[in-house]
């Protein structure tokens, strides 16, 4: 323990009257605590103070706005999660661990049919069963809800029809689980089965019974839920480019596979307020949905987030079973607990959309990306969920990190009679990113350039705008690529390893917080708010609504506060569980928490800090500008011996108010284009990543093993490197699962074949290769202490890295995920047949002959590296938009400069001419309100 500084002993707890007697009841707040683990106050650690503040911390990308508030307390140190002690002792209470006295057990009756009309429901026999306390059906709750206000299409229980196997029909609350299960079998439901659709392409067609009816906004009579068209740049000219890669991908649906099944407990307290305990990523949406479904004002509902046993997007919708629990609890007047078994988890789903993606990447003779054309048809299952956004994300999130000459996107999401798809880690970006990166590899192969070099020569610089108008601030893409290239030994391995052994690279790009709050105008209301409260004990309580789902958001917010106030983490207490005490927060999705909540927390902490510094000024007589916050102590810059303890200053500051409070909020700066859909994919910052994977492929069995992965992720600044590394490795685990084994398999009759963890193959410890997490810090100008997201972006690059590595190993391109041995083997067989080879072991091992372009691109990459550095350090402040690489002047509107430069989001018939495109077919329908017969 280093030597610290002694406080001036407060020692005044023996206040005496003039006559020497103690004043009863007028004692100072004495020195509390039992001595503590470190009785000495540490000075600021000079090595953790940034250069810009006179410290020794290197800042290769220049200073950051938050530098003056860095005290060296916790930021950048590997910090165990603040709630990890609860978890390792088994005291963390997840949804099913909430046991209220006198509780009932709820159970849900689910549809056995894919698609059927409900003719009648008879619950009388169930109600008569002894021990049954409440039975409820769709009649008890007719209000719609849904996670997005524009697509509310869910009910607590089916109203007139059931839309997928497992759809909720009725529910029961009983004294025991056995009674509840038995009661379900007494509920008589008459169904009239209708023809169901299971293939997403059928969803594009007109149907007699569309799965939902959206009234005048319905698109034709089809099952198209959302369609998106975007066209930017030279979308015609790109088709003439000399190098073209066209592929047609099939991605299986995925489930999040969190270990904790959904569970919920509802209780109407004696005052008639609803207390709802639920493992939720977004408690606020549940709060809103409950209010509108139950017709109860929001202030009469308290949503309590329990510990969340993994979310990954799968616990971010308001769920019908949450409504059911509330309804049953109301009917029975007792607390009701509903917990899912593993199969039910798959019925509620909200996993990654099964998708078919047609990807075309064009490259010109100068080795630039002339354009990307994407057509994505995604299978939304029976409900909208986040699908509106997913449809956009499948396209707009691959307009970066590369500079492109054109971008043409058609996307459509259709309803089918499957459990609903929704948001899952890497929301909407994962599949199309995989397709883009593999296509780039293919283009490089045609051009004869190294895919590393090609990528490095085509990156967008920091502080620029993408082709659709996203504002990029910091980017560490180049450093990520450089790092993985070096650490993986890329140059010695690429196309140089024997048949069956391969290496591949992939990049990723993801939003760090969605720029548009779904429920309100960001002008009127901030994205995140944090309250701080400091009482006489000197500890600081943080009130935030951010949901810790295991990613460590509580820890990150605590760190932000502790850093600014120079308090040890154990003096920061997080209250993030109850909507009664937490300010409104949009929850944990779109990788927004670190960026938005920590920013709000920093603001609040700065306000608190000011109050305390002013108090210290009164005590020691030095102006706050010359005071420094060290560990639990405030002292004079030039003489650390002059100072007061945190507690003394706090008490002084509290003299008037008794308690100190402060509040901080974050809202995104104005940004983005004005076209329809411009807000989708808009974020205050973006994360970047580049991975290299090395694989072993057995050409005779099609079995793929990932040997090692190098994973570089630019998270701006690692507030907690331990957590960032955990996120990177965890993302790799999930991503590799998607490439190699995970899949929601539907049988010929449309039934889900593997609603369990045995056949839904999540990688075990044996399949999981070594992952080398590499943290790249680009110091984002607006992020909290420079930080950006690290939770979702790290998933994207692993898929294409593995697929590209498979090509390097055996020269076979796959375009169907997961690459299970049977699939890969049949592709190998096809390839062998095509090449007239008998033995797969005779497959030609891909080789690499650099063309003349290689040297050009290497030079360009070098120039760009210099350009990027200048821009990072703000030495070069010129504006930069996507297009400069193609000779445009960034300061004038691009369409003015070139005839063929398009910027449009409404398709003309010619734009959709290609008959082979799937999603484009969604435009063959006309919205009902625009059809003449309705006019």
């Amino acid at each position: 323990m280093s030597k610290g500084y002694r406080q001036a002993p407060s020692g005044s707890s023996d206040k005496k009257r003039k006559d020497g007697k103690r004043i009863a009841g007028k004692q100072d707040f004495g020195v509390p605590g039992s001595g503590g683990s470190n009785p000495y106050s540490e000075l600021q650690d000079i090595e953790r103070i940034p250069n810009s503040q006179g410290g020794q911390l290197e800042q290769p990308r220049g200073p950051h706005v938050h530098d003056p508030h860095i005290t060296g307390q916790t930021i950048g140190k590997a910090t165990p999660l603040v709630d990890s002690r609860w978890k390792v002792t088994g005291q963390a209470e997840y949804g099913d661990d909430i046991r209220l006295p006198n509780e009932l057990v709820g159970r849900i009756l689910r549809s056995p049919h894919h698609y059927a009309r409900i003719v009648s429901i008879d619950t009388s026999a169930a109600e008569a069963l002894p021990g049954v306390r409440a039975v409820s059906t769709g009649m008890d709750s007719v209000n719609r809800f849904g996670v997005l206000p524009v697509t509310k299409d869910e009910h607590a229980m089916a109203q007139d029809k059931v839309r997928h196997v497992g759809d909720l029909v009725a529910c029961v609350a009983a004294e025991s689980e056995e009674i509840a299960i038995e009661a379900l079998s007494y509920i008589h439901v008459d169904y009239e089965v209708m023809e169901s659709i299971h293939d997403m392409e059928d969803g594009l067609l007109d149907s007699e019974n569309p799965i939902h009816d959206r009234g005048k906004y319905h698109i034709g009579e089809s099952n198209v839920q959302k369609r998106v068209f975007q066209q930017f740049g030279h979308t015609d000219a790109m088709h003439d480019a000399p190098f073209q890669s066209k592929s047609d991908w099939t991605f299986a649906g995925l489930h999040h596979g969190f270990t904790e099944p959904h569970a919920v407990v509802a209780h109407w307290d004696p005052n008639g307020r609803l207390q709802l305990y639920t493992p939720q990523q977004v408690p606020h949406y549940v709060h809103r949905a409950l209010s509108s479904v139950l017709d109860v004002p929001m202030h009469q509902i308290n949503v309590i987030r329990t510990f969340v046993g993994g979310g990954f997007g799968g616990k971010s919708d308001p769920f019908p079973h949450e409504m059911c629990a509330a309804i049953l609890a109301k009917k029975s007047g007792r607390p009701v607990r509903i917990n899912f078994d593993r199969e039910e988890v798959y019925w509620i789903n909200r996993g990654r959309h099964p998708s078919r993606i047609q990807m075309e990447v064009y490259a010109d003779e100068k080795g630039r990306i002339a354009g990307i054309e994407t057509d994505a048809l995604i299978d939304g299952g029976a409900f909208a969920s986040f699908g509106h956004v997913t449809t956009y994300y499948n396209g707009v999130l691959h307009t970066s990190p590369y500079e492109i000459g054109g971008f043409h996107y058609t996307g459509a999401r259709v309803w089918t009679n499957k459990p609903a798809s929704g948001a899952m880690r890497g929301h909407g970006a994962v599949n199309s990113r995989c397709a883009v990166e593999v296509a780039i590899d293919d283009v490089c192969e045609q051009m004869g350039v190294d895919p590393m070099t090609f990528r490095l020569a085509n990156l967008l610089p920091p502080h620029c705008r993408t082709i659709t108008g996203f504002r990029i601030t910091s980017t560490g893409m180049r450093e990520c690529l450089d790092e993985v290239r070096k650490q993986s030994g890329w140059d010695d391995k690429f196309r140089k390893m024997p048949l069956g052994r391969g290496i591949g690279v992939g990049c990723g790009f993801f939003i760090s917080g969605s720029g548009l709050p779904i429920h309100w105008d960001p002008e009127n209301f901030p994205h995140a708010t944090v309250h701080l409260q400091c009482d006489m004990d000197g500890g600081v309580t943080v009130h935030t609504g951010a949901a810790d789902i295991g990613q460590g958001s509580d820890t990150a917010v605590a760190q932000a506060v502790s850093e600014v106030l120079a308090l040890p983490l154990d003096m920061i207490r997080i209250r993030s569980r109850e909507s009664d005490t937490a300010p409104v927060d949009l929850g944990s999705y779109s990788s927004r928490v670190t960026f938005m909540n920590c920013n709000a927390a920093i603001r609040a902490a700065i306000e608190l800090r000011e109050k305390v510094l002013n108090a210290a000024w009164e005590i020691i007589g030095y102006h706050p500008d010359s005071l420094v916050l060290g560990d639990r102590r405030i002292y004079y810059k030039r003489d650390p011996a002059i100072g007061v303890s945190w507690l003394q200053a706090v008490h002084k500051a509290q003299a008037d108010t008794g308690s100190l409070i402060a509040s901080g909020a974050y809202r995104t700066p104005p940004m983005g284009g004005v076209h329809k859909g411009a807000a989708a994919g808009l974020a205050p910052a973006y994360s970047f990543s580049a991975y290299v994977a090395e694989v072993e492929v057995d050409p005779e069995t099609g079995f793929v093993r990932v040997i090692k992965a190098w994973a570089a992720h630019d998270c701006g600044k690692a507030l907690n490197p331990l957590a960032v590394e955990g996120q990177i490795i965890g993302s790799c685990h999930m991503g590799m699962g998607q490439v190699l084994s995970e899949e929601m398999r539907y049988g010929r009759t449309g039934h889900l074949l593997n609603p369990d963890l045995l056949d839904y193959k999540i990688m075990s410890v044996h399949e999981m290769p070594e992952v080398v997490p590499i943290i790249v810090e680009s110091n984002d100008p607006e992020g909290p202490f420079g930080a950006k997201e690290a939770g979702e972006g790290p998933l994207l690059p692993i898929l294409p890295a593995v697929v590209n590595a498979i090509y390097d190993a055996i020269g076979v391109r796959v375009n169907e995920l997961p690459v299970s041995p049977d699939r890969l083997y049949s592709t190998i067989e096809k390839q062998c047949r095509k090449m007239g080879i008998k033995d797969p072991l005779d497959l030609p091992n891909p080789s690499f002959e650099p063309s003349a372009l290689q040297a050009d691109l290497e030079n360009r990459a070098k120039e760009h590296a210099h350009r990027d550095l200048q821009r990072d350090l703000l030495k070069d402040r010129s504006s930069y938009v996507n297009g400069v690489l193609f000779g445009f002047d960034p300061d004038r509107p691009l369409p003015e400069q070139s005839e063929g430069w398009r910027e449009s989001v409404t398709p003309t018939p010619e734009d959709l001419a290609d008959p082979k495109k799937r999603a484009a077919r969604a435009w063959s329908h006309v919205e009902r309100r625009k059809r003449r017969d309705d006019a």
Partner: protein, 199 residues
């Protein structure tokens, strides 16, 4: 029209007394002959640290130690382990001190959402009990039945290795009952740096 299926579940056979030692204390609970150990532990004994992830032996969240051996409690009838010695995650710490394996999972990122953690902890505690210096392969073999969706296992393996190291050095985990930092730091020291060197 679907024919109603009737699954008779109640009344079931009468409950009988079931006895076992759980985390060092003797418990006698009423249970059915078909009661699952997981249910008895969670609903009657009250050790909610034992997690239910799948009910079918695929996730490992429900692992407990029976006489020191890892067992999936969701696949075990309560009466199969009648009279045995059961350890759940709650029984790893000694009251004051965390078990090294708990300490290391907390400190090295072995636990993110924490739902799988109780299972991993008891399984690896059993491993380290037998072999305080396990090879990486032995560790992987020990936890092969446990799924973790968050961590990608790497930090879990590190945590187990670190815990082995602690055990070999005879260290215990930190004392949970000791007070942490005092907001009012005091100490006997005088300044050790000349004025001005603070930053």
């Amino acid at each position: 029209m679907s024919a109603p299926i009737h699954i008779p579940m109640v009344p079931s056979d009468p409950m009988e007394a079931w006895t076992a030692r759980v985390n060092g204390a003797q418990f006698t609970e009423l249970a059915h002959s078909h009661s699952i150990l997981l249910d008895v532990l969670r609903d009657h004994v009250g050790t909610l640290g034992v997690k239910r992830g799948c009910d079918m032996g695929t996730c490992g969240c429900c692992a407990v130690l029976v006489d020191g051996e890892p067992v999936l409690s969701c696949l075990t009838l309560a009466f199969e382990v009648e009279g045995k010695d059961i350890t759940t995650v709650e029984g790893l710490a000694d009251g004051h001190h965390l078990h090294p394996i708990q300490q290391c999972f907390a400190d090295h990122g072995g636990s993110q959402c924490g739902f799988c953690t109780p299972g991993f902890l008891v399984v690896s505690a059993a491993l380290l009990d037998k072999e305080p210096n396990p090879s990486e392969a032995a560790i992987k073999e020990a936890i092969e039945g446990n799924l973790c969706r968050c961590t990608g296992y790497q930090q879990i393996v590190t945590s187990i290795q670190e815990a082995g190291e602690m055990l070999r050095n005879g260290l215990t985990g930190e004392d949970r009952t000791e007070a942490a930092s005092d907001p009012h730091p005091v100490g006997p020291d005088e300044p050790t740096l000349p004025p001005g060197d603070a930053r």
